[in-house]
């Protein structure tokens, strides 16, 4: 009885995640590809909730939907033909991407199948909290996360800030040209252009 219910929930979430992912790579307009990421991210957040990992679910929504997806939408609006459906779907990198995907699948697969998960299969179907299955191994609690983050994993925690800093500096350097004379000349050229052209380029 429970199994049916859980299978339904799992099926709906899996459909949203995988169906969305398939649409992301098969849809022809890249703005739609960006929008289709929403069910993918939301489905993953749903999985976290389903496994009672509320903090992870909140982070998934906060960061992936609230920040990264908005970033992707902005990135797509930068492109010239966001809605165009006659761009080529492939860029000739089929073989390398396939290899990379296989490596990823191998790495994830070995982890999934070799790791000693602290629960017997099907235990979770009966809504046993993960933390109760093996005491002291899994705690889905924010304060426990804070404790290990700031003691055992302090160095990675601080390194994360350096990583964020590096990303920030890199982004600014890439996205923002220094005001060189050439760039200023470009601006002057835009300003000298007819009004309707200028309007479009200065949105």
């Amino acid at each position: 009885m429970h199994t049916i219910l859980h299978a339904t929930v799992f099926g709906v979430l899996a459909l949203a995640t995988l169906g969305g992912a398939v649409k992301v790579i098969s849809t022809r307009s890249i703005i739609h590809a960006a929008f289709w990421l929403f069910p993918v991210f939301a489905g993953i957040a749903g999985f976290y909730l389903y496994l009672d990992a509320q903090f992870l679910a909140a982070m998934q929504v906060l960061i992936y939907i609230g920040a990264i997806l908005v970033l992707i939408v902005f990135a797509v609006t930068l492109t010239r033909n966001a809605t165009s459906t006659d761009e080529a779907q492939t860029n000739g990198l089929f073989i390398p991407v396939l290899l990379a995907a296989l490596v990823l699948v191998y790495a994830l697969g070995t982890t999934v199948f070799n790791h000693l998960w602290p629960i017997e299969s099907n235990v979770w179907l009966d809504a046993v909290p993960l933390s109760a299955a093996v005491p002291g191994v899994m705690v889905t609690d924010v304060s426990a996360l804070g404790l290990v983050l700031l003691s055992q994993y302090l160095l990675p925690f601080e390194i994360a800030s350096v990583l964020l800093l590096a990303a920030m500096v890199g982004a600014i350097v890439l996205a923002r040209k220094e005001r060189t004379p050439a760039a200023t000349a470009g601006v002057a050229a835009v300003e000298a252009a007819p009004a309707d052209v200028r309007e479009l380029s200065n949105v």
């Binding site: 929930v9 960061i63 809605t83 924010v142 304060s143 800030s161 964020l164 982004a171 996205a175 923002r176």
Partner: protein, 121 residues
């Protein structure tokens, strides 16, 4: 699944379902006589010229990029904030751990500021 998860799910389903029903009721009650002119997009009364899907300025993207990084930072701060006053002793250490974390990112903010990434132009 716990009661809390089920609560969230029920709220979600009710929110979506209620608004679908509201739209359906409206669909049955409202008139629907679309004409060519009703379906043009509004540009202050004159005929729209061209599509609205043009390239936008890069500045929106830069703000979004900075936001992603600071959002991740705030996410890291939540577990820290929850335990800060709950553990016995070590507050100064916890405080300095966080201060280092925040200062590194503030350095990034200052860098962005100095480079003009926070300017709208």
């Amino acid at each position: 699944m716990t009661n809390q998860t089920i609560s969230i799910a029920i709220f979600f389903v009710l929110g979506v379902g209620f608004w679908m029903i509201a739209l359906a009721v409206s669909y049955l009650a409202r008139p629907s006589k679309p004409t060519k002119f009703k379906e043009t997009s509004y540009e202050c009364g004159i005929e729209p010229s061209g599509s609205a899907w043009y390239q936008v300025h890069v500045r929106y993207y830069i703000y979004a990029l900075l936001f992603v990084l600071f959002d991740v930072e705030v996410a890291f701060l939540y577990p820290w904030a929850v335990i800060f006053r709950r553990i016995d002793g070590g507050q100064m250490l916890l405080f300095s751990e966080l201060a280092i974390f925040v200062l590194i990112l503030v350095f990034g903010l200052v860098y962005a500021w100095r480079k003009g990434a926070l300017e709208w132009e």
